[in-house]
């Protein structure tokens, strides 16, 4: 498989799986405005996924389009990072995941936007404008929950604690993203300090998503997301 396919499929799968996760909040968020926000962020991510998976399909050259790649692959063939497939948990856990991911995604897409591959850089340049919004939303909520009530603070700490083990994978040197870590650390530290929180203690990161070694959660997510195409292969609207 080409390096271009590998690159595009990682970008696409991250966006697709997190977009699907966020859509689970639709109709369930703590209040209407948050419901709209999470659904909109999910929608942005699904749009990005469609474009990135489209490029992956072209790079592969076997006639698979974005839909085929999204709906006709099983767990082992997905290349998303483990962070995005983690369950929503409570609202604070969802915010923790978004906070860690969006700040990383903005840095990553900024880098992709400047790369010579125009198919990918065009998508990245467009997407990064959306991700800046996602960061603002997540950062504000980390501060609001961390600096809120005793209960919200406790939940924010627990959410960050749960998600933190998946951070190292984002900066795996094999993906060439290691150079983004210092800037990311700085951003995260700034928001956490405003929220009166501390970064969780460093621990050994859990990796494997980029090789298709996923947590149990991804299979459940796919069985729901892919239900229609599994039951009625190639069904169309």
């Amino acid at each position: 498989m080409s390096a271009r396919f590998d690159h595009a499929i990682r970008l696409g799968d991250d966006a697709l799986i997190l977009g699907q996760r966020l859509s689970e909040w639709c109709g369930h968020a703590p209040m209407l405005e948050v419901d709209l926000s999470l659904a909109n962020i999910g929608l942005d991510l699904l749009g990005q996924a469609t474009h990135f998976l489209g490029v992956a399909g072209e790079a592969e050259g076997k006639g698979r389009d974005a839909d085929k790649l999204a709906f006709h692959r099983d767990v082992l063939d997905f290349r998303n990072c483990l962070l995005v497939e983690q369950p929503n948990g409570d609202f604070a856990q969802t915010i923790a995941r978004q906070f860690l991911f969006s700040n990383w995604q903005e840095l990553l897409l900024t880098e992709v936007a400047a790369a010579p591959d125009t198919a990918l850089s065009d998508i990245a340049r467009k997407s990064v404008k959306e991700v800046i919004y996602h960061c603002r939303f997540a950062n504000e909520w980390v501060v609001r929950l961390g600096d809120g009530t005793e209960e919200s603070r406790k939940r924010m700490i627990e959410g960050l604690d749960w998600m933190w083990r998946f951070v190292d994978e984002l900066f795996d040197a094999k993906d060439g993203a290691a150079s983004l870590r210092p800037e990311w650390d700085k951003r995260i530290a700034t928001v956490l300090s405003e929220a009166g929180l501390e970064a969780p203690k460093p621990r050994r990161g859990t990796m494997g998503g980029r090789k298709g070694h996923h947590s149990e959660h991804l299979g459940h997510l796919l069985s729901e997301m892919q239900f229609l195409q599994r039951a009625y292969p190639d069904a169309r609207w």
């Binding site: 405005e33 926000s37 065009d122 998508i123 340049r125 467009k126 919004y133 939303f137």
Partner: protein
Amino acid sequence: MVATAATSTSFRDRVFEILAHVPDPEIPAVSVVDLGIVRDVTDEAVTITPTYTGCPATLAIEADIRTALDRAGLSKLKIETVLAPPWTTEWISEEGHAKLRAYGIAPPTMRATECPRCNSTHTEEISRFGSTPCKSLWRCLDCREPFDKFKCH
């Protein structure tokens, strides 16, 4: 007539005029031309660009443009989608701004947000995300009406 690669102004104008009557599916008060979704017209193709990558209206917009072109006897014109340079609210025309305001949606602005009903700038944001990807929710502190604002993007 000598064949030329350049598209004649009259043809371009004609196609733009046709598309100026294709409404945005989510905000029918403005057309796809007002919003800056139509980038260019040549003898071969109409070039369009999506507003937000995940905007569900993108496919409907393409289908509506196709229908309008076919009805005008321009079935041979292709529709091509480009992502670069990315769409921003700067692409919305002056006319588009006026139509949005008349429809009750505050147009995108970096200056103080004006209530589209009473023109007061005594307004506040309720939610950064609104009923469609391109809008945020605001309220007027003078006439007390809530309203949508087209996000600066």
